[in-house]
Subunit: 419 residues, 2 copies
C-alpha cells in the first residue's frame, strides 16, 4: 500500500462538487467585472521567486533541477508568475489589463489544521490603472467574489503601507537600528508584547511610542486625518468611501496594522477575513505593488489580490452552507439479458440530452439495482422490459415518492427534464 505525501489531499466526488461550486461562483464574479482567466506553469525558475521575495523563501519551496541543471521550484504563489507572463508576452495588450487565475501552489512547511503543502489559490491582477475607482473596484471584486460563494460573515480591512512607513519614519526610525522590516513583521502578526519589548530595547521615547501606537490602533477614518497629510489622506478616503457607498460594503474598517510583510507592496493594502475561522481567519490579501520594473518590464501601475480557496470552503462548511449534492439523474435497469441493447440505446438518447444516466453494467437483479441507485442518489430508475418495449415505453420509478409511471421512449428525455 502506498501513502499520499504528507500535507497533501485527495478529493472525493463530494469534495469536488463543493470545490467546483465555489470555483464557478468566484470565476463568474471575476468575469462579470471584465477579468479574463490565464494560466502559467506549475513550476518556474527558482530565481523568479527569490527575486520577488528574497533568498529566505528557498527554505519554504519545493525545488529541483532541470535537465540543463537550472534550478526550478513549484510555485508558492501566483503573482510573480503572472507578472513574468505579463512582462514576457502581454505588455502590448490594451490597458487596463484585468487577469485572473486559479491554480495550485506549494509550500514546504509543517502541515497544520487548514494549512497544506499543496493548496489552491484564486486571484486577480489589475495592470495599468491606479485611479481611486480602479483600486476601489479591485477591492470590491475580492469582496464580491467571497460573498457570491454564499459566505455570510466576512470583514474587509483596508490599510496603507505608505502611511505606515511614514509614521515609522516620523516616530521610530531614529531609534530602530535596522529598516522597518523587523517591526513590520511583528505588526503583521499583531504581536504587541514583542513590539513593546522592541520599543524598550531601542529606547523609543514614550511620546513617540504613544503616537505610533495611536496610529496603529485607528479604526475610524476620521481619526486618520490627524496623522496623515491632506493629499494622501484624500485618495485613501475617496477609495474607502467608494467601497462603502457605491459598492455598498458595510462591514469595512480602516486598519493600519496590515503590513503584509512583503517588500514589493506599497500604498493601499487590504485583507478579508472570516472571524468564524478563529486564528486562521484570513481569506484574502492584496493591494498595490511594484514588480514589473524589477522583472524587466516597462513601469506600469499594478495591484491585485489572492484568495485562499481551501479556507473559503472551510469557512462555508463552518457556516453550515448547503453545497449542491452529488447525484445521478437516472439509473437504467434492463429486466433481462435481451433488454440490454435497447437499454443502451435509451441511455445514449438521455446522455445526449445532458441527463446524467447510469446503466446497470453488472446484470444484477432488480432489488440490488434499486439499492445501488439509492446509494448514487438516483432520482429515477427506469426499467426496460419486453412487454413495455413492445409499446415503445418503459416504466419510470420516482425514487423519492416511490411512484411508477409508464412513459413513451419518445417523450422520456422531455419528461425527465421537466421533473
Amino acid at each position: 500500500m502506498f501513502n499520499i505525501p504528507r500535507g497533501t489531499r485527495d478529493f472525493s466526488p463530494v469534495d469536488m462538487e463543493k470545490r467546483k461550486f465555489v470555483q464557478k461562483k468566484m470565476s463568474s464574479t471575476f468575469e462579470s467585472f471584465g477579468y479574463k482567466e490565464i494560466q502559467t506553469p506549475t513550476f518556474e525558475t527558482l530565481e523568479l521567486f527569490t527575486a520577488k521575495s528574497g533568498e529566505s523563501i528557498i527554505d519554504e519551496l519545493y525545488s529541483f533541477s532541470d535537465k540543463s541543471g537550472r534550478e526550478l521550484a513549484l510555485r508558492p504563489e501566483l503573482t510573480a508568475p503572472v507578472m513574468r507572463f505579463y512582462v514576457d508576452k502581454l505588455q502590448m495588450e490594451p490597458k487596463p489589463l484585468k487577469l485572473f487565475y486559479f491554480g495550485n501552489c506549494y509550500r514546504y512547511d509543517r502541515p497544520q489544521k487548514g494549512r497544506y503543502r499543496e493548496f489552491t489559490q484564486m486571484g486577480c491582477e489589475l495592470i495599468g490603472a491606479s485611479t481611486e475607482e480602479a483600486i476601489a473596484e479591485l477591492i470590491a471584486l475580492a469582496y464580491n467574489a467571497v460573498i457570491n460563494t454564499g459566505l455570510k460573515n466576512i470583514n474587509l480591512r483596508v490599510g496603507n503601507l505608505d502611511f505606515l512607513k511614514n509614521q515609522f519614519e516620523k516616530n521610530l526610525s531614529d531609534f530602530f537600528p535596522n529598516s522597518f522590516n523587523e517591526l513590520f513583521r511583528l505588526i503583521d502578526k499583531e504581536d504587541f508584547d514583542e513590539i513593546k519589548n522592541k520599543f524598550n530595547e531601542y529606547n523609543v521615547p514614550n511620546n513617540n511610542q504613544k503616537n505610533f501606537m495611536g496610529f496603529l490602533n485607528i479604526n475610524k477614518i476620521e481619526d486618520l486625518s490627524n496623522y496623515i497629510e491632506n493629499n494622501n489622506f484624500k485618495r485613501y478616503k475617496e477609495i474607502f468611501n467608494l467601497l462603502k457607498n457605491e459598492f455598498s460594503i458595510l462591514n469595512i474598517i480602516p486598519d493600519m496594522k496590515i503590513a503584509r510583510g512583503l517588500d514589493y507592496y506599497k500604498g493601499i493594502v487590504f485583507e478579508i477575513d472570516a472571524p468564524i475561522l478563529g486564528a486562521e481567519k484570513q481569506l484574502c490579501g492584496g493591494g498595490e505593488y511594484d514588480l514589473v520594473e524589477s522583472f524587466g518590464g516597462k513601469d506600469v501601475p499594478t495591484s491585485g489580490f489572492a484568495l485562499g480557496f481551501d479556507r473559503i470552503i472551510l469557512a462555508l462548511e463552518t457556516e453550515n452552507f448547503s453545497f449542491p449534492v452529488v447525484k445521478t439523474d437516472v439509473y437504467i435497469v434492463p429486466v433481462n439479458e435481451d433488454m440490454v441493447r435497447k437499454s443502451i440505446e435509451i441511455a445514449q438518447i438521455l446522455r445526449n440530452e445532458g441527463i446524467l444516466t447510469e446503466l446497470d453494467l453488472l446484470k444484477r437483479g432488480i432489488g440490488k439495482s434499486l439499492k445501488y441507485a439509492n446509494s448514487k442518489n438516483a432520482e429515477k430508475v427506469i426499467f426496460v422490459g419486453p412487454d413495455e418495449i413492445k409499446n415503445d415505453s418503459v416504466n419510470v420509478k420516482d425514487m423519492k415518492s416511490g411512484d411508477q409511471k409508464l412513459i413513451k421512449i419518445n417523450n422520456l428525455a422531455k419528461n425527465l427534464k421537466n421533473n
Copy 2:
C-alpha cells in the same frame, strides 16, 4: 527578465477560452455517463510510479525530496494516483465506481512539437465491472467525449493484449530469448523493419513469422476467428458489436498491433486517433488493467483511459474549429467626473445579473474609450451622462450596428440580456 521554464507554456485569455470550452464538453460527457470527478495531489511518492512502471521511469520524472528525506515525483500520469486513492479510501464505495479526473502531468524529456514537459490529461477509471456492456460503455465514453468537443475525423481501434500474448506464445516464444517486452515495444511503434530484423536474428521459421504477421495485420473482425479460440473471440466480438451497433460508432476497426508497452494492461485495449495530426495522431489510449492488488487492495476488475487534452485542442485547431470568442458584454463610460458614482452603481447592477461589465477606470475621453471597447470585443457601450440620468436613463450604443438607443436603467439588464 525571467524566462518560462523550457517545455512549459503560458495560456492567454484566448488559449484559456479554448481550454475551458473543451474541458467543459468532456466533463459534461463523463458526467452524462454517471462518472464523478476526483482529484489527487500534483506529486506522489516516487515508489508509486516505479511500482507501476518499473525503475526505468525515473529518468522521465521530475523528482525531489521531502523534508523527511522521502523521494517525491511530479505525476507523469494519473492512473497510479487514482488507484492509490481507491485502495486508500474508496474500496468500500458501491460498485461499479466510475471516476474521472482532469489534471496536469509532467514528463522530463526533450520538448518537441505537441509534446510538453507539463501537459494536461483527462481520463476515466471504471472499477468493479468487466462485463461486455461495461467495457463497451467505457470505450464508447472515450469516443463520445472526443466527438462532443466538435472534432470530426477520428478513428477508434480496438485490440486485445491477451490475443497478442497468445500468438506470441504460439509462434515466437520458442525463439525469442527474452519475454515479449522487446517485441511488443517494436509493435507499439509499428517498426516493422526492426521486427523483421529480430525474426531473422532469432531464426524464427518463415511459417511462424507469416502466422504472427498475418495476425498483426488483421483489420476485419471475421479474420480474427481464424486465430483465436471461440470463447475468447466471443467476448471481443460482443464488445466490438455493441460499439458498432448499440453505440453507433462507424469508424471502428480491430487492431492487434496495440501493445501499449505497459505491463499492467491486459485483455481489451483501445486507442483513438486523429489522422489529421500525422505522426503524433494519438488522442486517447486505454483498456483493461490490473493494479489494485499490487497496490495492496482487494482484487477487482479495473479499466480506464486517458485523453491527451492538449492534442485534442491541437486537432480541433487543425480542423479549423470555431472556438467561442473572448468578449466583454458591456463597457460603461461616465461622460464626466460627476457620473463616476452613478456608473459604478449601474455596473454593479449588471454584474449581479451575470452581465460581463467593464467600467472606464482611466477617465479617458469618449474616443479612446470606444477604441478600448473595440479591442475587448465589447458588444455594447453605455454612456452615463447628466441629462439622461435626470430621466433615469442611459445611452446604449451597439458596437456592431453603430445604433444608439436611450434605455431606462430599470430595464437595462433585461434589455441587454435579450440582445
